[in-house]
């Protein structure tokens, strides 16, 4: 299994203490080299096309499973934004062919087991947690939910009510509001990556649509299953076979994601809201997952905000005391990535804090980072990567998710190497290419009663109403 074999080497190399920074003030011993071999997962494919990854883990009497389905809110049809979220919730709440909602929940909770669903832009998932001794019973419910959800009308109504109430509350939290509206501006209010659920779109979703979602995407050849825990692989495979062999395969056609045409360059969107701490976002373009600049951009971002010693934290928070929360990160969505820089500051220092953040971003285009700072930034990246793999279950989930999201086949295998190869010149070049004024804008929520001065120095002001 390509991902895993080479991953073993990656792990060992990183744990040798790559970019070991000589700690000058304290005399610390040099670390001994670490060796670590990840167990190879068992990989099987059923006749109906379902791919299964299994890792035995006998440390605890527990079994966890994660099924990933190639679907997601990116493919919500026009006029029915929210379909994927709604369908996945209704799938969980609405019972199945064999189990009423009450029967299913009673059984799961009697056993202390859990089945939950989730919906993201580019995939949906169902996860399962059970004591090892209860797996056959829990797996039976899990499988029926996958193959034959019932979408009980009463439960669907309750789910719908939950969505409607959520829409009413969507501007209660200023930071969440700014994040959502910022995304809408960046990608465009009609683009799948920017579009917002509305009461009309939720109300337009009928049970037929939920069933349609299920029958369209829930196919074994359109899904991957990961299972880790206290079992013997061949026995688990038998169980999965007995439960999911009759799941019918079929063709899948996904909607194409259109190119992004929105452009709000230079604007400063201001939403009036009663806040003590004003959330501010600086949004601009970034590489998507397939872009060759991805790793270089990650290192660049690590210099900017990868740790407490990084630029934004030191300058905006530690030295000037302007923010508690200041951060930046890349959302590498296809077809267009978005780079987010965010902070929260009291109303009358919005201008000062935002200007400083912009200055730090732009400095990376002009100055070359020192070798020491670069090494720290790389070291921080590599080691946070490693800690995603604490248990066999985490490893499997991470790998199948990354694979599904379209990261290059050799992403894990070459990650450490690629990060280590990034030079200070690469970082500067990436900053020049991606931290442009082109496509960059600002969005914030502020309290007009508590704001001194204007934000005109930041750009062209546009007032937005919170709706």
């Amino acid at each position: 299994m390509k991902y895993f074999k080479t991953f073993t080497l990656v792990l060992s190399a990183a744990l040798l203490g790559f970019a070991h920074v000589q700690a000058k003030p304290l005399k610390l011993p040099a670390p001994e080299p670490l060796k670590f071999n990840l167990p190879e997962p068992v990989v099987e494919r059923l006749d109906n096309g379902l791919t299964i990854y299994m890792l035995e883990d006998h440390s605890l009497p527990l079994v966890r499973a994660f099924m990933l389905i190639d679907s997601g809110s990116l493919y919500d049809p026009k006029g029915k934004t929210g379909l994927s979220d709604f369908a996945m919730e209704a799938l969980r709440e609405g019972g199945t062919y064999k189990y009423t909602p009450a029967e299913m929940n009673a059984e799961l909770e009697r056993l202390g087991a859990r089945i939950e669903t989730d919906s993201a832009y580019e995939y949906t998932s169902i996860s399962m947690r059970s004591l090892a001794e209860d797996v056959p019973a829990v797996m039976d419910i899990f499988a029926d939910m996958i193959k034959a959800p019932a979408f009980n009308p009463e439960k669907v109504t309750i789910v719908r009510q939950g969505f409607m109430e959520g829409l009413k509350r969507r501007n209660d939290d200023a930071a969440a509001m700014v994040s959502r509206e910022g995304r809408r501006k960046f990608y465009g209010a009609d683009h799948p990556l920017g579009i917002r659920e509305e009461p009309e779109t939720i109300n337009a979703i009928a049970i037929a649509d939920l069933k349609g979602f299920h029958s369209k995407y829930f196919k074994p050849n359109n899904a991957v299953l990961a299972v880790a825990g206290n079992f013997k692989a061949h026995e688990m495979l038998s169980l999965i076979r007995s439960e999911l062999s009759d799941w019918k395969p079929g063709g899948v056609v996904k909607a194409q994601v259109p190119p992004v045409t929105a452009d709000e360059t230079g604007k400063v969107f201001v939403i009036n809201k009663t806040v003590e701490n004003a959330p501010v976002l600086i949004l601009g373009p970034g590489p998507d997952r397939q872009n060759e600049d991805l790793i270089k951009h990650k290192v660049l971002n690590s210099v900017l905000s990868g740790s407490m010693g990084a630029r934004l934290t030191v300058e905006v928070r530690t030295k000037r005391g302007l923010a508690y929360s200041v951060y930046s990160y890349l959302s590498p969505s296809t077809p267009k990535g978005m780079f987010i820089t965010g902070l929260g500051t009291k109303n009358n220092t919005v201008s000062e804090a935002t200007s400083e953040a912009l200055r730090q971003i732009d400095l990376l285009k002009i100055e070359t980072v020192s070798q020491e700072e670069l090494n720290r930034a790389k070291s921080s990246l590599i080691d946070s990567f490693i800690f995603n793999f604490q248990t066999p279950y985490d490893i499997l989930v991470e790998v199948i998710t990354y694979r599904h999201l379209g990261y290059p086949e050799d992403y894990f295998a070459t990650y450490t190497q690629k990060v280590s190869e990034v030079t200070a010149e690469d970082v500067k070049a990436a900053a020049k290419k991606w931290f442009t004024d082109e496509g960059r804008f600002i969005i914030m929520a502020v309290d007009p009663a508590k704001t001194t001065g204007s934000f005109a120095d930041l750009g062209e002001i546009t007032e937005l109403k919170a709706d």
């Binding site: 203490g17 920074v21 309750i158 939950g162 509350r169």
Partner: protein, 510 residues
């Protein structure tokens, strides 16, 4: 047969594997059917070390707990324990500076100016703005001067260079925890860094960090749920310091001084008030040896009392509305005894029956049957557990239903608990859920360390969660009726809710 072997191994280790200082007491858990395999060491200075080996991956989680939190702040200095926690990242006489001797002089001058600023501001309306402006300029000038001797964020950078993950800390009302995970080959480095940090701390950059904490405080004030929670505590506790927000009252935090933090540190951050928990790819014997080497000379600390103002007797129900620009929410709080009480397990079961999962009473009633709420929750132990605390209910109503309808529905379920014995299978269900939760938490080094550390530092018993898991099984339907009847009374409750203001409210909540 196996038991004999285990015992023999244990004795072997005790005799030959643990070449320790004679005064360090080491105990290794042997009942590993019931408890995780934890080794506990108590150093001569009273510091406790808990170790649990987990060789799944070559990583280690470290949690150091001090048995002090924001409940220990003096009046007028709320938020100090939390600000101190921030200061514990500022380095030491060695880390974070290129010349401590020169730096110290400036830091002391800054303290004097900061104190003068307080003195002037405390005059309130008769304070002189010109004087204040001048003092602030002086403080800024000193900060600039001090900066030349500061190596900014050096502490964090040292950890970064070792491959650290999740370098962080948190302060609750009860405790303060310092957290980090490292690759397994950096074990000794952790001891060196932490020993230096806690033996020779320097709270540099205090006044700027105070500004940072003020921003953190303000972020909380943005959120309806957070604000309502603070108001709930202040209502349910009249005098006891659990009534204070962990982050502190705004006017207190603004005037905290470095000397306040130093005094708090000296009083509470002592070896006998500390537990370090190490979970991961380690060898217990080696860890304890390192602890002896690096932590044995952390000062023991003077004995001091633990008085906290007692709440006066309750004199009836408390009710209050809170005007906020957000949709309605409600908290209902009942005062209750904390974990010392023999009824601790009963409260856990009540929490589970009322609120755990889709078959729970509140979910079925408020979300499914009556459809009054989109979210409803019950929790047995807020805000913390060192002192008598609260059993709280939370509801987010579904428009056009109101918090008051949710309130009535909650009381309906509470009344049933008092008068109708629950079925044994409901208690069994909760016991099972807790058990599986405990097992599940053991998949993570960090979660294990957190559970072990919290139990040991607060209850002096790292086994507490596992004991509770067992005690829950013995709870009877009669216990539940008795406890519900005693504590869930009108006079014993504080009810507080958000009333929506702003444009949305004027639109009739559209």
């Amino acid at each position: 047969m196996i038991k004999l072997l285990t015992t023999a191994l244990f004795l072997f280790c005790l005799q030959f594997g643990f070449a320790l200082n004679a005064q360090t007491q080491v105990t290794k858990e042997t009942d590993i059917q019931k408890y995780p395999a934890v080794t506990k060491a108590v150093l001569p200075n009273g510091m406790r070390i808990l170790v649990m080996e987990n060789k799944t991956a070559p990583i280690v989680s470290f949690y150091t707990y001090f048995g002090t939190g924001n409940v220990d702040n003096e009046m007028g200095k709320t938020g100090l324990a939390h600000l101190l926690e921030h200061m514990a990242f500022k380095g030491s006489e060695t880390v974070g500076t290129n010349n401590y001797r020169k730096e110290k002089v400036i830091l002391d001058k800054m303290d004097a100016v900061a104190e003068q600023i307080n003195f002037e501001r405390d005059k309130g309306s008769s304070s002189d703005p010109a004087v204040l402006r001048k003092l602030k300029e002086q403080l800024t000038a000193l900060e600039v001067e001090a900066a030349q001797y500061t190596v900014e964020n050096e502490f964090q950078q040292i950890y970064s260079g070792l491959g650290a993950r999740g370098l962080n800390a948190y302060t609750s009302a009860d405790v303060t925890a310092y957290i980090v995970s490292l690759p397994a080959n950096q074990l000794e480095s952790w001891f060196i860094i932490e020993a230096d940090r806690f033996k020779n701390p320097v709270f540099r950059g205090f006044y700027k960090e105070r500004d940072v904490v003020m921003e953190e405080l303000r972020m909380g004030l943005n959120r309806a749920g957070t604000v309502l929670f603070y108001k709930m505590l202040a209502s349910a506790f009249e005098a006891h310091p659990y009534r204070n927000p962990v982050i502190g009252w705004q006017s207190d935090v603004e005037r905290l001084l470095r000397k306040d933090a130093e005094a708090f540190y000296k009083k509470h951050y002592t070896a006998d008030n500390a537990v370090s928990v190490i979970v991961g790819d380690v060898n217990a014997g080696e860890v304890i040896k390192l602890a002896e080497k690096y932590f044995a000379d952390i000062p023991k600390g003077k004995k001091h009392g633990d008085y906290k103002t007692h709440d006066p007797k309750r004199m009836g129900e408390r009710r209050a509305e809170v005007l906020f620009e957000a949709s309605p929410l409600m908290y209902i709080a009942y005062n209750k005894p904390t974990y010392h009480s023999k009824d601790d397990a009963v409260f856990q079961v009540i929490e589970g029956i009322l609120s755990s999962g889709r078959t729970s009473k509140l979910y079925k009633s408020l979300v499914e049957d009556k459809q009054l709420a989109v979210s409803v929750d019950a929790s047995a132990a807020y805000p913390a557990v060192r002192y008598d605390n609260l059993f709280i209910f939370y509801a987010a109503p579904r428009a056009p239903h109101t918090v008051f309808e949710c309130e009535e529905a909650i009381y309906e379920e509470i009344e049933k608990l008092k008068t109708q014995p629950v079925k044994q299978e409901e208690i069994d269900k909760v016991a099972r859920q807790i058990e599986v939760s405990m097992i599940s938490s053991m998949t993570s080094n960090a979660n294990m360390a957190r559970t072990l550390g919290t139990n040991e530092i607060i209850m002096n018993n790292w086994r507490y969660s596992w004991d509770l898991s067992g005690a829950v099984k013995a709870v009877t339907p009669q216990d539940i009726m008795r406890v519900a009847s005693k504590y869930f009374t009108k006079d014993n409750r504080s009810v507080i809710w958000i009333k929506q203001t702003g444009a949305a409210a004027q639109d009739g909540g559209k």
